[in-house]
Amino acid sequence: MAHTASRKPPRVGDSPIFRRSLIGVVLILGALLIVAPLLVIGHEAFKQGWKVYIDTLSHPDTRHAIMLTVITALIAVPVNTAFGVAAAWAITKFDFRGKRLLLVVIEIPFSVSPIVAGVAYLFVYGLQGLFGPWLDDHDIKILFALPGIILASMFVTAPFVARELIPLMQAQGRDLEEAATSLGASGWRTFFSVTIPNVKWALLYGVVLCNARVMGEFGAVSVVSGNIRGQTNTLPLHIELLYHDYQAAGAFASASILALLAVFTIIAKVALERRGAGRRKTLSDAAAPTGP
């Protein structure tokens, strides 16, 4: 620290009494509202001892739910990442009509209730939906099966990677890519050796957040999955099922895995923010016309 606080005049709200009481109030409320919910998960999960905990996690239904969640993420996250990169490239490297509208549409899933998203998918792929009867005739199962779970997860996370990349790539401009291209590099070469190294931390940041949301999505997936135990139950749905089955310890044991994922996500987020990723700007900022 180059300068000490004592040389500067006190700023607004710097009186010791006010400062201490405000920090105190905020810390107490934060402990009650944020930390306690995290602690209670561990407490409830181990309430009946290690054996119940291990038994729940090694139960075939739980293992299947974990598998299904991981498979969903392994498909949804890479596809979403490819989309986010493509969207960021198109939006930041080119000018075209309707760019603002496209940015708004990409952000829509943030504002839509997950339940509404699930219902919307029902009216596309369900029997009472657009393609439902045709899919049924051809014996293709999308709803109440893995494809539906993946599609619904893709909807809720559509903006995650794009909105990390777009503001950053907008700020970096096009000069480097233009230089590489005019020196004869191919488009892919330019992309992989110039663009990607400049945005790698932001990209990873988007991927980490996207993954956390895919693995934890509940509302949208619960509409499209059909909740078939041991078949279409992802981990969050499995938690609900155990909870309503009066197996609270089992529900919290399963929840502890997702809570651990949340903690790792936050640690990764902080680590990536130190590398400059995630300096929050809104997507709509990026729609502002590019500088000289």
Binding site: P9, R11, G13, S15, R19, L22, I23, V26, L27, G30, L33, I34, V35, P37, L38, V40, I41, A82, A87, A90, F94, V104, E107, I108, S111, V112, S113, P114, I115, V116, A120, F123, V124, Q128, M154, F155, A158, R174, T181, S182, S186, G187, G216, F218, G219, V223, P236, I239, A248, A255, L258, L261, A262, T265, I266, I267, R280, T282, S284, D285
Partner: protein
């Protein structure tokens, strides 16, 4: 304009439009078409049924209370994190994101465990005669939890960029801390606060997972709109589900428009300043 020599417009824009069309636009359009196929009289009958109206009321009122609480708590949290240095500040800063990182179903069962009558907080509160779990207060607490980070994260960057010279000028003119906060700092924070408020409110209106465990889910009193949609689906009443879902969707679009407008204003404001 300069001629753009970069390749890949058709590929990248093609992928983008295809994905957005298939994943985002098509399902929402299908929902709107389904709801519109009902005819105005039938649509109105469903969306204005007494049970639906009760669900809008409890959802909107709880969201309002949660948002107002988060306005104060979020502002205080953002203030403490940017203006003060104390041990553990970085950890607190990181923990603010927990409600975003923790899956909603996990948040739902853990808040229920805390606030049910034999839980850590619930047992203390029930001695004072306050019931939280399975009442509207439970809905409000779940909403407070899931939407807290919005206000902190929209206000924080503005507080960090606040020019100390403005405060110093106000101090040299003899303003008290409270006057300076009200007349100088608060107006500068207002655009960000409003944007955070609308994000927080919109999120609360659509929240499902965190709420259904703690809410009690009694029709007419603790049944949120998102749950009513889910119940109509389970009853195979797809038309009612579509109609009520379209109400939530239109509300979400209205909130999105408000948020975009507020953020555009906030941006203009900061650029001017």
């Amino acid at each position: 304009m300069r001629r753009n020599i970069l390749p890949g417009l058709r590929l990248s824009l093609g992928i983008t439009l295809f994905y957005v069309g298939l994943i985002v636009v098509l399902p929402l359009a299908a929902l709107v078409v389904k709801a519109a196929s009902l005819g105005p009289a039938e649509y109105w009958l469903i969306v204005s049924s007494s049970r639906a109206l009760a669900s809008y009321r409890v959802t909107a009122l709880s969201a309002l209370v949660a948002t107002v609480f988060n306005l104060f708590f979020g502002l205080a949290l953002a203030w403490v994190l940017t203006r003060y240095r104390f041990p553990g500040r970085r950890i607190v800063d990181a923990m603010v994101d927990l409600p975003f990182a923790l899956p909603t179903a996990v948040a739902g069962i853990s808040l229920t465990a805390l606030f049910s009558s034999n839980g850590w907080f619930g047992s203390l509160l029930s001695e004072a005669g306050i019931k939280v779990a399975y009442t509207p207060i439970g809905i409000m607490i779940a909403m407070c939890f899931t939407s807290l980070p919005f206000i902190v994260r929209t206000v924080q960057p503005v507080l960090e960029d606040l020019d100390p010279a403005l405060e110093e000028a106000a101090q040299s003119l003899g303003g008290s801390d409270w006057t300076i906060f009200r007349k100088v700092i608060l107006p500068l924070l207002t655009p960000a606060l409003l944007a955070g408020l609308s994000l927080s409110f919109a999120r609360s209106l659509g929240e499902f997972g965190a709420i259904i465990f703690i809410a009690g889910n009694q029709p007419m009193s603790t049944e949120i709109t998102a749950l009513l949609i889910f119940i109509r689906l389970e009853e195979y009443d797809y038309q009612a589900a579509a109609a009520i879902a379209s109400v939530l969707l239109l509300t979400a679009f209205a909130m999105l428009a408000v948020t975009n407008w507020l953020q555009a204003r906030a941006l203009r404001y900061t650029l001017k300043g």
